[in-house]
Each structure stands twice: as C-alpha cells, then as structure tokens.
C-alpha cells in the first residue's frame, strides 16, 4: 500500500534513480562482454573475470519506442560486480544499478 502524502510530486521535481550510464564494452565472438571502461568504472579497460547472470528484457514493443535490452551481471578482475546491458536496438552499452 502506498500512503498518499497529501501532495502529488511534480514531474519536474523528480530525479530518476538507476539511470543508465554509457560505458564502452568490448565483446567476444558470441557477444559476451570481455572488457569494460567508462565513467564510474575505470578510465582503462578492465577485464571481466566472469559472467554471473544474464537476462533479456523486451518491453513496449507495441509502442514507437520499444525496449530490447540484454542484461549481464559481471564480475570484474578487481572483484567489483557490475550490471551492464546492451541496447540491442541502438547497439549501445550501458551500466545500470539494479536493486
């Protein structure tokens, strides 16, 4: 149940959480991410040690702005765990906090 606080928040006052951050990812032959670099990760490409999970999201395919993402939960060489996704329509890679 969501308690109504008495005032509805205005859209221009909202700041979205978990916004995707663009990163550069080099992939292997089958599209599996191998290295990642970008803001919030590292200036230099960091090797990916393992892929912990992967899933796909297809949404709004009935609209003019469909979403088709391939998510990868990866473990970097230095031990950090990141969630990356590949926007399959735009062919761009992003990092995103998922929680």
């Amino acid at each position: 149940m969501v308690v109504f606080a008495g005032r509805a928040p205005r859209a221009d006052q909202l700041r979205g959480l978990s916004q995707p951050q663009p990163v550069r990812v080099s992939t292997g032959p089958s599209g599996v991410p191998r290295r990642v670099q970008g803001k919030g990760v590292s200036e230099k490409a960091v090797p990916i040690r393992a892929v912990r999970d992967r899933w796909r999201i297809d949404d709004r395919w009935w609209t003019e702005t469909p979403v088709c993402r391939m998510y990868w939960e990866v473990e970097l060489q230095d031990g950090r765990v990141l969630t990356l996704f590949h926007d399959r329509l735009a062919d761009h890679w992003y990092r995103q906090r998922c929680g």
């Binding site: 969501v2 005032r7 006052q13 909202l14 700041r15 979205g16 978990s18 949404d59 979403v67």
Partner: protein, 459 residues
C-alpha cells in the same frame, strides 16, 4: 551601631544582648485587611556585583564596576543610543566616588584601577528568577523588586509563630539562606550576603534590612517603628532618582524632616510619590505586597566523574538530562521554550549557554535535536566536571493541537526534520534542498530507471 541599639533598648522586658529581636505587637489586621501583618525583606546589596564575583572567581578583589546602557525612563530615554553608565559597583569602587548612574567616561579619572565588566542583565534576571522560585519554599506570597530585594508575606505561615519573634526571624533567615544557596550555584549559606529585616510593613522591613547584617536579622516592632523611621535616611524611600536628588537639595535627609512637613506640601512639590513618601515617613506603611509569580525553573545536574567527557559523552549527557527534565512532574506537560546549560570546568571557569528554542517543544527528542544543532561548535573546550541544565521558558500551550498518541512514524519524521535543519545550517545551503527522499514511480516496471525517483524531502 546606634540605630540597632535603639532597636534593642526599648519595650522588651527581657532583652537578649546577642540579638536585636523584639517581641512584636501584632498590628490590627481588621483596620487594613489587605496589608500583611508581618513582612520579611531579604535584601542582597550589590547583587549583580556579587553574582559576577561568583561567576568569575578569578576577578581581583579591588574595585569592580558593571557598565551598561542607561535604564529607560530617565532623561536619556528619548536618545537613540543610550549612554553607557555605571549600573552597579563594588564597595571599593563606591569608596572611590563611583555610584550608580554615573557616566562611564568618569571612571578613568575617579578610579583608574577599577575592573569593568558588562552589565549582563539577562543573567542577573535569570538568577533573580531562580532566587524567587527558591524563596517560594519559605512563603508563596513574595514581591520581588529587581534586582536586590524580595518581600515575603509572613502572615499565616504554619511554621512561623508571630508570638516568638526570635524563632520567626531565625526561621525566615535560615529558610531564605538555604533557598538562596540551593538556587545560586550551591554556595555555602554563609557566603550569601542576604540581610533580613522583619517588620509589620513593607517599607519598614526594607529599613530593617538596612540595619541587619548577613549574620544577624533585625526585627522592628510596631512600637518601635516610629522611632526607627524618624532616624532613617530619606535616601531609603522608594522614590525616583530625581526626587531623591531634590530631597537632598532641600535638606530633607531624614524621614523626621519629611514627617514634619504638611502632606499637602509634599503632594504639591512631588506629586503622588511625594504623598506616598510622606505617608511612609509617618509610619503609615500598610501597602499590600504585589506578589510576583515565580517563574518555574526545573534543574537537573549530571557529574562526569574523573574523566573529562568527549563530545559524544556530552551529547549523551544532554540526552540524559533532557529526558530527566521532561519526566519531572513540575513541568506538567508544558512545552519548553528555553534551555539554560551550565558546566563548571576544571580550569575554574564556567561554560554557560542559554538557548531559546525556535518553537516550544513538547517532546524532549525534538528539543535534543535542536540543542545539538545549535551547540555545534559552541561546546566547552576545557575539561568539564558537570553539566547542569535548566528548563526556564515553559510555554502553557503550543500552536496547534497536541497529538494525543504520538506514533513512531511521526517521531521519526520530526527527527528527520530536525536533522534536515541541521544539515542546512551546517552546509549553509540556501534554496538547494540538502536531502531528498525516494519515491516510488512504477515499482513493478521491467526497466530499473522507471521504478524509483528522488524528490526534495520537503516537497
């Protein structure tokens, strides 16, 4: 002292050579139903100077002068910037020719060695209020005359027997001294310069107090009153400084001289206060006491022991003291508007802060939040031995209807609001909201960026 000898020498068939107490003749109460039968005057001469010496024990023993803006009501009341004058001074300073009301500029010429301090009226008033509250233990009917005199109505007190003047005077004196000692920094009663005068009338009790010493109260009976008043200096009359000056210029320096004048002449010359002065000089001292309502002060103290407290300990002490003060039954559920803290330090000085809260607080947790925030950067720098806290400003009610059952959620929200104020104060942020809260947009969305958003906490 001659005047005191006069008091002892008459009317008592069994005089006690060690005291000046007399067997009183009870006045006729039916003649003046509103005047108290017996009034005790507790007079603390140079109260402000005495307080400063207690507050700063390191002050040199020589002349001490308290300087402050001239009181309103005099000739300087219309000036935009009040002149700095002597508001109080020690005996040594007075011996050098300094007196109250004198311009500060004359100090350098008359007494160049005098130590000067600012006249800290809020502090003296606070101590005066604490005294008034403590004297409530003696009698509930008290008239306080700032800053040095208290008049106590002794009529009908079960523990004071009018037939035993010696016991009555000693009982009052002891009660007053203990009350004073309990409220004023817990000093030994012997150090309090309280002079007690007891008489069947307010002005006569005031005169009696001037004949008393801190160790020896004085009682003036109805039979002795006329003789004592005749020898009394007119400077003791409760008149303004201008009339006092005129009386001096006219040579009316004793009440006997005033008594001989026609009352109409006094009325014509000085107006209502002239008529009143004549009445008092004639011994017609039946003015009722204007009872001052003592301001409620609740006090708690916490000692820190051998180890000086850290900031965390100090905050914990604030927490404990506030919790204790709030639980005191005297508060009677009133909201608190002002908190006074006092902490003696190892070096001998005393850290003091009086904080008037931004709004009356009904809960101690919210008051604690504001106290911590306001004290940020103002905590004592030396090793603190103890911390005393007083709730001095108790508000009868607060704006808005109080919540009967305060929920944990409401308490949390109040704490958050206080913490938010704290952040804003510390970061000096203006306009920019320092804290945001998370709101749910579409928690079941497949896309993480559409599930939650941040918004200004106060939006």
């Amino acid at each position: 002292m001659a005047r005191r000898d006069n008091l002892v020498s008459t009317a008592n068939p069994h005089p006690n050579p060690k005291s000046a107490f007399r067997i009183p003749q009870l006045p006729d109460r039916a003649a003046e139903p509103f005047a108290p039968a017996w009034v005790a005057c507790a007079w603390i001469p140079r109260f402000a100077v005495w307080l400063e010496r207690q507050r700063q024990p390191g002050l040199p023993a020589g002349p001490l002068v308290l300087l402050g803006p001239a009181e309103a009501g005099g000739k300087r009341a219309l000036e935009l910037t009040p002149a700095v004058v002597v508001r109080d001074c020690s005996h040594e300073a007075e011996a050098a020719g300094i007196h109250r009301g004198m311009p500060a500029a004359t100090l350098a010429r008359l007494c160049p060695t005098a130590v000067t301090l600012p006249f800290d009226m809020p502090y003296y008033q606070q101590r005066h209020g604490a005294l008034l509250e403590a004297l409530d233990a003696v009698t509930p009917e008290i008239e306080a005359e700032p800053l040095e005199a208290f008049y106590l109505d002794l009529t009908g007190l079960p523990h004071l027997d009018p037939e035993d003047p010696l016991g009555m005077a000693e009982g009052v004196a002891e009660g007053v001294r203990l009350a004073c000692a309990s409220s004023l920094l817990s000093l030994p009663p012997s150090r309090l310069p309280v002079r007690i005068g007891i008489a069947p009338g307010k002005f006569t009790a005031w005169v009696a107090a001037h004949h008393a010493t801190p160790a020896r109260p004085v009682v003036i009976t109805e039979a002795e009153r006329a003789a004592v008043l005749r020898e009394t200096a007119s400077s003791l009359l409760p008149v303004d400084a201008e009339m006092r000056r005129k009386l001096d210029l006219l040579g009316l320096r004793t009440l006997a001289r005033i008594e001989k004048l026609p009352r109409s002449a006094m009325l014509a010359q000085f107006g209502r206060q002239g008529e009143r002065a004549h009445r008092l000089a004639c011994g017609e001292d039946r003015e009722p006491l204007m009872a001052s309502r003592p301001r409620l002060v609740i006090r708690e103290t916490l000692e820190f022991g051998d180890h000086p407290p850290t900031v965390a300990h100090f905050h914990l002490a604030l927490h404990t003291l506030l919790e204790r003060l709030w639980a005191r039954p005297e508060r009677r559920g009133a909201a608190v508007r002002q908190v006074r803290m006092e902490a003696p330090q190892e070096a001998g000085d005393i850290w003091q802060r009086t904080l008037t809260l931004r709004r009356p607080h009904e809960g101690w947790l919210t008051a604690l939040g504001e106290l911590k925030r306001r004290l940020d950067g103002l905590l004592p720098t030396g090793a603190v031995l103890a911390l005393s806290m007083e709730l001095t400003g108790l508000a009868g009610r607060v704006d808005g209807q109080p919540v009967l059952f305060t929920s944990e959620k409401q308490l949390r929200r109040e704490r958050l609001r206080d913490a938010l104020d704290h952040l804003r104060y510390r970061q000096r942020l203006r306009g920019q909201p320092p804290v945001q809260r998370i709101v749910e947009l579409d928690p079941w969305s497949f896309l993480p960026e559409e599930r939650h958003a941040l918004i200004n906490y106060e939006a």
